[in-house]
Structure formats: structure tokens, C-alpha cells
């Protein structure tokens, strides 16, 4: 049985796609500025483009997670969402806050703290928005006929994500303290509670797509999220090596962040094994591509590439270089971008009734976006390693090094174009599905 209130997810996904396109536009502005074409400097200087690019990333992923929750929770709790109108109010207010923040960034209205640039008054609106969202999700879950592990893990991830936003709002006079608690938000989101959200969505998709017993999948979900927190919480220490805090973090951060790939490895093995074990042949192959892709690419991007520069001895040289950008792009894409696209690919045919399961365009979207992103990661990686050697080892001036490595940003722009082509194809496919209908929800495949 499906629930009509799940349709609200569609609009969160649509907002997500719109913001993703905008994020890419600002990414190109930055890419071109790096190779000398900074023609928009008067209107969109690099720091504006950068703030818009990273904040839109956060908001399109959050909008995707919220859409995923509005789709998954009613189905898991076996009841309609408690209040659909409030869900639409929450969607509109999220969009308004996002638009005001992005416009504000163009007029020097920001906080200038990496990833948390949204100015303080808007922070409070974000908190109200997220409280409304959590209220709707948790009350639905509480009043539901059943409380599954998948729903609990997903809700717990969303609840912790909201709570962890608060340390980022604390005012400090010290740059060190500011940075220290900023990572409570950014690291514990990205390498902690967001993995819970990812795990919850992954678990839901694997149950639906592979037909493997829920008890088996949910047992392993606990193990994976357990590994995530066991390594990820103390792994925060890898951000504390060189920002002015005690040396103890060199040891603690070094050991625990080196363990972080284990959670991603477990997630990849888990997804592939469940796929092999599954006897159900769900016709939505594209959703399966994105689901397995998310599990595997997140292991490479977040796990392996994170490990590549997480030890203090290596990080001493790579800290504050483009090596970080290499890791960040593939990690965000694999772990969070792809899982959002997976749940969209799974739910869209169910909500709209158009079964565009594995069209040539859908397949091309998957491969082009992934090939493009891998190319971008390599370009960032080569530029980053060259920067480390020239600047940090041989003492060359920062700007001279930037000139030397600018060719890699030409490669980056070419690969980003391939990636964008894939994303545009995905969005065309999204559009071709049409709007969600009540009839579609009633007859959709379980």
C-alpha cells in the first residue's frame, strides 16, 4: 500500500534539482576564474561564487534528504503524513531561506565561516524550518503502525543533524575555538549523522530493490552506523591537527580517522552482497545503478581518498591545499549526491506512474555524471599534489604555483562539462516523468 501524502517528496526533489543546477553554474564561475577568466568579478567575486557553490550543495542535499524522509517514513510507519499542508509550508520556507541566503551572499551579507556562511538571523529561520520538518516526521513515526529500524536510523540521523547545527551558532572571539566548534557541525554532519541518513535511505532501497529479508538488512545497518560513529566521532580530530589545539588530537584523530574507511567499506560490501543475495528482480534497474553506485563511489571518494591524506604526517603538507578539494568532490558526490539521485530514481516512477525504468537517457545520465566526476577528482588530485610539492616542499610562491597548475583546471572544466551533461540528462528524465498523481500512488509497485 502507498500513501498519498508521499507525493510531497516530489516537490522537495524538484527543489533539489533546481539548486543542483545553480550549484553547477557557480562551480563553473570558479573554474573559469582559476584559469584567468574572472570576467564576472565585479558581480560575482570568487568568495561569493564559492559560498553559493558550497551552501547550495548543503541545501540541495538537505532538500533531497527531506524529500526522502517524506517518501520513506509514511511507507515505513504505514500511515499518512500527519499534516501535508505544513510539509508544503516547510518546503516553501526552506526555498525562501535558501534564496535570501544566496542573494545575500552577493551583497556581502554572510558570516564568512566555511560551509556555514548563512548569516545569524537566517540561522534561526533554518532552525525553525528544521524543527517543523522533524516534528512532522517524528509525529508520523510515533503515530505509525510500526517503527522499523530503517525509519528509526533515518529519523535519528535527521534529528542529530538538527541538533549538531547548534554548536555552529555559538559566538567565539577566538578563531581557534570558532574553527573547533565549526567542525562539530561540518565534520559530525558529513562524517557522522549524514551517514546515518545515507544508511537509512540505502537500507530502504535495498529492501525494496533486492527483496532480501528486512531483518538481515537492518541488522547490518546497525553494524555500519555503529562503525561510522565509532570511527567518525573521534575522527573529528583530523581537523584539529594544525589549527591551534593540543597535540593529543594528532594521535586520537590519526587513529580514528584512519578507521573511517571501514564504515564505507562495510557499506559497499553490504550493498553488493544484498544485491547478490536478493532474489527479487525489481524492474527499476536505474535505481539499482544509483544505489550500488552510491555505496561503491562513497567508499572510494570518502573512504580511500579521505584516508590518503588523513594521517598527521601527510596532512601536515596537504592541509589547506587542493588535495582536500579532490577528496571532497568525490566524497560528497558518492555518499550523498548519488544516494539522493537513487531515492529520486526509485520513487519518481511510483509517484508519477510513468515507469521510465532504464531508458538510454537515464543510463547515459548515470555514466556521464560519474565519469565526469571521476575526471574532476583526478584533475583536482593532480593539481593538489603538484601544489603540495611546489609550494610546501620547494617553497615556491603561492601565486606562481597557481599559474603552474592552471592547466589542470582546464581539464577540470572539460570533465565538469561531461558531469553537467549527465546531470542535465538526469533532470530531463525527471521532467519527463511528469507530476505525481493520486492514481499512480495507488497502483505503484511495492
Amino acid at each position: 500500500m502507498k500513501y498519498k501524502s508521499q507525493k510531497v517528496a516530489y516537490w522537495f526533489f524538484a527543489l533539489s534539482m533546481l539548486l543542483l543546477v545553480l550549484q553547477l553554474v557557480y562551480g563553473f564561475v570558479m573554474g573559469f576564474a582559476r584559469i584567468g577568466f574572472d570576467n564576472l568579478h565585479e558581480f560575482v567575486p570568487f568568495n561569493t561564487a564559492r559560498a553559493v557553490h558550497t551552501n547550495l550543495l548543503v541545501v540541495w542535499l538537505l532538500s533531497g534528504f527531506m524529500g526522502a524522509a517524506y517518501y520513506i517514513i509514511p511507507e515505513e510507519a504505514q500511515r499518512e503524513l500527519v499534516n501535508v499542508k505544513l510539509a508544503y509550508v516547510q518546503l516553501i520556507s526552506l526555498a525562501v531561506v535558501g534564496v535570501v541566503a544566496v542573494v545575500g551572499f552577493h551583497f556581502n551579507y554572510w558570516e564568512g565561516r566555511k560551509f556555514l556562511e548563512i548569516p545569524r538571523p537566517l540561522d534561526f529561520l533554518v532552525v525553525i524550518n528544521v524543527l517543523l520538518f522533524l516534528g512532522l516526521i517524528l509525529v508520523t513515526l510515533f503515530k505509525g503502525k510500526r517503527r522499523t529500524t530503517t525509519a528509526l536510523v533515518l529519523s535519528m540521523g535527521l534529528l542529530f543533524a538538527a541538533l549538531l547545527y547548534l554548536p555552529g551558532m555559538l559566538p567565539f572571539d577566538s578563531q581557534v575555538m570558532d574553527s573547533f566548534f565549526r567542525w562539530w557541525v561540518v565534520h559530525l554532519w558529513v562524517e557522522g549523522v549524514w551517514e546515518l541518513i545515507m544508511g537509512g535511505i540505502l537500507s530502504f532501497l535495498l529492501i525494496k530493490l533486492t527483496g532480501v529479508d528486512r531483518e538481515v538488512i537492518e541488522k547490518w545497518l546497525y553494524v555500519i552506523v555503529g562503525l561510522t560513529f565509532l570511527s567518525g566521532v573521534l575522527g573529528t580530530g583530523h581537523h584539529y591537527y594544525y589549527i591551534g589545539v593540543n597535540k593529543i588530537w594528532l594521535i586520537v584523530g590519526g587513529i580514528f580517522s584512519a578507521l573511517e574507511p571501514l564504515a564505507f567499506l562495510a557499506m559497499a560490501l553490504f550493498a553488493v552482497n544484498m544485491y547478490r543475495k536478493g532474489e527479487k528482480k525489481h524492474p527499476n534497474k536505474l535505481a539499482l545503478y544509483w544505489t550500488l553506485g552510491a555505496a561503491i563511489v562513497s567508499f572510494v571518494g570518502a573512504g580511500l581518498l579521505g584516508f590518503a591524506h588523513t594521517l598527521p604526517q601527510t596532512n601536515l603538507y596537504t592541509h589547506g591545499t587542493l588535495v582536500t578539494a579532490m577528496h571532497a568532490h568525490l566524497a560528497f558526490w558518492g555518499a550523498y549526491g548519488m544516494i539522493v539521485l537513487a531515492i529520486i530514481s526509485y520513487s519518481l516512477p511510483n509517484m508519477t506512474g510513468r515507469k521510465l525504468y532504464l531508458t538510454p537517457r537515464g543510463r547515459a545520465a548515470f555514466w556521464l555524471s560519474n565519469i565526469g566526476m571521476i575526471g574532476m577528482t583526478v584533475a583536482f588530485g593532480v593539481a593538489g599534489v603538484a601544489q603540495v610539492y611546489l609550494e610546501r616542499k620547494f617553497g615556491m610562491d603561492f601565486m606562481l604555483v597557481q599559474k603552474e597548475i592552471s592547466i589542470h583546471f582546464v581539464v577540470l572544466i572539460i570533465c565538469a562539462s561531461v558531469f553537467t551533461t549527465g546531470i542535465i540528462m538526469y533532470i530531463i528524465e525527471f521532467y519527463k516523468h511528469g507530476r505525481p498523481t493520486d492514481e499512480a500512488m495507488e497502483v505503484s509497485i511495492q
Partner: protein, 153 residues
């Protein structure tokens, strides 16, 4: 074979224990005798400088303590570096860039022209000076040739 109940206990127990250790280490890091963040030398001017740093999103191009956008130079120990380059005139150079009505563009890469007042520029310099005195567990030697030389002597 692991049961679902055991798996849940692993998740909840592991999370609780690691989070408590994390809180404990945080308190330890900023306790007297272990705090190396140069907190005692924060002046009103440094705080004003930090506010200017944030309100103009300088981290959107530069890096500081290794954190930022990798588009413009790292500014930890920037005064030392510019002192070397401009015969001890590092602070003056920074102030002139911040007060300039036209964009500073070394090697063609443009910086926003902030047109700061002398006081604002002085506050930012104070902020950089304070940053330069933080014990960074050796990172300062990597980003500053002068600090590296000092360390070798």
C-alpha cells in the same frame, strides 16, 4: 552469529562511549595548561579584526590555519612572509592592500577592493599577528619559510 539486538547494542554503546571521550578530550584541550590557542593574547583589536575577516568572507578565497578556499594565499604567518619579501614592511603592505580603492591583482588574480579605513586595516593586521603566535603543532613551519628558518636555528 551476530543478532540484531547485539548489533543495536554495538551501535548505541559505541556511539555513547566515543561521544563521551570526545567531550572529555574537548574539555582537556581547552583546560589550563593544555590550551595552546593563544587565547590569553586576544585583544579588542584582534576581535574587531576577526569580525572584519568574517564579515567580508575572506575565507572564501584565502586560507587561514589551513582552512579556506585555496584560491588566494594562506595568511597564517603572512606578516613574516611579507616582511621577508618587502624588507620588514609586511604590515604596511597588508594595510595598503586592504585600504586600496582598486583591486589588488597579483599575477592577474583579482582581490576585491575593500577600501578599509586605517583603523580597520590595523585591526586585521592585529588579527594576523595574533594568529601568527598560535602554536600550530608544526604547520607554521610548513607555510612560512621564516618560521622554518627560525626553527632550524
Amino acid at each position: 552469529m551476530l543478532s540484531k539486538k547485539q548489533a543495536r547494542a554495538f551501535f548505541l554503546g559505541g556511539t555513547l562511549v566515543t561521544f563521551l571521550i570526545f567531550i572529555g578530550l574537548t574539555i582537556y584541550s581547552f583546560s589550563k595548561g593544555n590550551d595552546q590557542s593563544n587565547h590569553e593574547n586576544i585583544t579588542e583589536s584582534v576581535v574587531r579584526g576577526k569580525k572584519i575577516w568574517e564579515s567580508n568572507n575572506c575565507m572564501g578565497c584565502h586560507t587561514l590555519l589551513g582552512e579556506g578556499a585555496y584560491y588566494a594565499p594562506e595568511l597564517t604567518k603572512v606578516i613574516d612572509r611579507l616582511n621577508m619579501k618587502y624588507n620588514g614592511q609586511g604590515e604596511e603592505v597588508i594595510k595598503s592592500i586592504l585600504m586600496s580603492p582598486v583591486p589588488w591583482q597579483p599575477n592577474g588574480r583579482k582581490m576585491v577592493a575593500y577600501e578599509m579605513t586605517e583603523q580597520e586595516a590595523e585591526d586585521v593586521v592585529e588579527f594576523f599577528r595574533w594568529i601568527g603566535e598560535i602554536d600550530l603543532n608544526g604547520f607554521d613551519r610548513i607555510v612560512s619559510p621564516l618560521a622554518k628558518e627560525d626553527n632550524n636555528n
